[in-house]
Amino acid sequence: MRLRISSAMTIVFLLLSLTSLAQESHVGNLVGNAKKGKALYQRYCIFCHGEYGDGRGDSAPYLDPKPRDFTKATFKCRSTPSGTLPLDSDLYDTISRGIHASGMPSWKPLTRQDRVDLVAYIKGFSLRFQEEKPGAPVVIPPEPSTSPESVKRGAELFQSMNCWLCHGKEGRGNGPSASSLTDSKGNPITPFDLSSGSRFKCGDSDQGMFRDLTTGIDGTPMPSFADALKPDQIWDVVHYIHTLRAINKSQRSQAQAEPKSE
C-alpha cells in the first residue's frame, strides 16, 4: 500500500514537473520562469487579460480592441504561419513593443528577464503550448529596392488580391466590405487605414509588413498570403503600401499648411 502511494506521488510529481517544463520560455539566452511571471502578471496584466487569461479582466468591457484571450492561443503578431503557435520571441516582442492603437502599452520598462518570465506564464493559459510546436518561422528574404515597376506590380496585386475590398481603393480602410468585418469573437473591427501613416500593430518596418502579409493577423479578418503570393510579389505590395502612406502624408501636411497661410 505504501509503495502504491509513493509511486502515485512519483507520477504526480513527474506530471507536475512536466507541466512546469512546458511553461518555460526561451528568448535568446534567457529562460523564463512561469512562477516569477505569475507575480508580474498579477501586478501588470490581470486588470485587462483577467485572472484566467481569458481576456475578461475588470477593464476589458471598456476596451476596444478587446484584450487577448490567451486560452485560445490565437495571436495576432507572429512570425509563424496562420493557425500555428507563435515563437516565444514573438510573444516577447509583442510585450516589449506593445500594440499600437490598442490598450496594450509597451512593457519595455520591465527588464528583459521579466518579459521572458511573462511569456512563460502566459503560455500556461492554453493547453496548445503543451500539445503543439510553434510553426516554422517565415523566412524574410532581403528586400529588393523599390522602383516604379515594383510599385506598379504591387498596385495590380492590391487590386487582384482584393485587398481594396476591405482597405479601400486608396487604402483608407473604407472598402465596400469594411463595415461588415468582425474579429473572431464577433466584435466589430475596422481594416487598417494604410493611408494614415500610423504605425502598424505588429511593428513598423518593411520586414514587419512582409511578415504580417505572409502570416496574416490571426483572430482578425486579415488573411495569410503565404500560398497566394511569392516573396517578390509580397515586396511589391510592401512598396505599393508605402506610396499610399506617402501620398496621404503630403496631402495632410498640405491641408494643415493651408489654413495657416490664410
Partner: protein
Amino acid sequence: MRNRVPIFRAPGRALLANNKAKESRYTMQPKCILGVIAAAFVLSLAPYVPAGAADAGAAGSLKGTAKIEGSTLKPTRIDMSSDPNCAKAHSTPATTEDVVIGANNGLANAIIYVADGLGDRTFEPPTQPAVIEQKGCQYKPHVLALQANQKLDVVNSDATTHNIHPLPTNNREWNRTQPHGLPIEESFAREEIAIPVKCNIHPWMHGYIAVFKHPYFAVTDKDGNFDLKDLPPGTYTIKAWQEKLGTQSQKITVGTGESKTVEFVFKAGS
C-alpha cells in the same frame, strides 16, 4: 509545495473552461492504442474471414427526412455588386442558403449524425478528401461534413480572390488567401459541430464545416433526404443540426440488417 499549487491553477482553469476539448483529446490516446491492437487482431484474422462480408450483412441503415413546419422563410437576394466578378457569375441573382426548403417542406443542409451509441470504437479517416468549392462567390456545399483528420481540399473556381477563414472553438483557427485556381489543403483534428466558415472579403459568404470522429453522418439533400449507411446494430442518439433552427435529438435502435426510417421536424420561428 505551497507555492506550487497556485502556479498550476491557471492552466487548470484553462482545462476546465475547455473541458470538452480536453476530454476528447485525452481519451483519444488509449482509444488509438486499442484501435491499433484491434486492427492488428483483425488483420491477423483476415486470411480466415471473408473481408467485409460479415459487416455488410450485419449493418443496418437509417434513412429519412428533415422537414420544416409552418415556415414563411424565403431565401433573400444577395447583393454581390461590390465585386463584379461575383455578380457576373450569376445570371439570376444569388440567394441566401441559411434555410433552404425543398419539396414537401424538406429541409436542405441539415446534418444528421450519430451523437451517442458507438461506445469506444475508433475510426480511421477516409483516404478520399472532402471538397469545399467556392463557386459564384458561395460555398458549395453550403454545409460540409467530414471526419477528423480527413483531408479537406479547398477549391476556388471563381475569377476573384477569396480568403477562407474557419472560426472554430475546438480546432486551430487559420485564415488563408486563395486566388483563382490555387489549391489549399487542410484538415481539422477534433470533433466540432459545426465550424462557421467565412470569406471576410465577401461578407455574404458563409458556410459550415462539421467535423466528426466517426463516419456516421449525412447532410440532407435539397429535399431534406438523408441516408446513414452501414450502421452497426445498436441503440443510438441521432441528432439533426441546422444552422438557424438548432438541434433535435431522437433515440433509435437499429437491429442487425435492419433499415429504419426517421423524420426530424423543425418548427420555424420557435
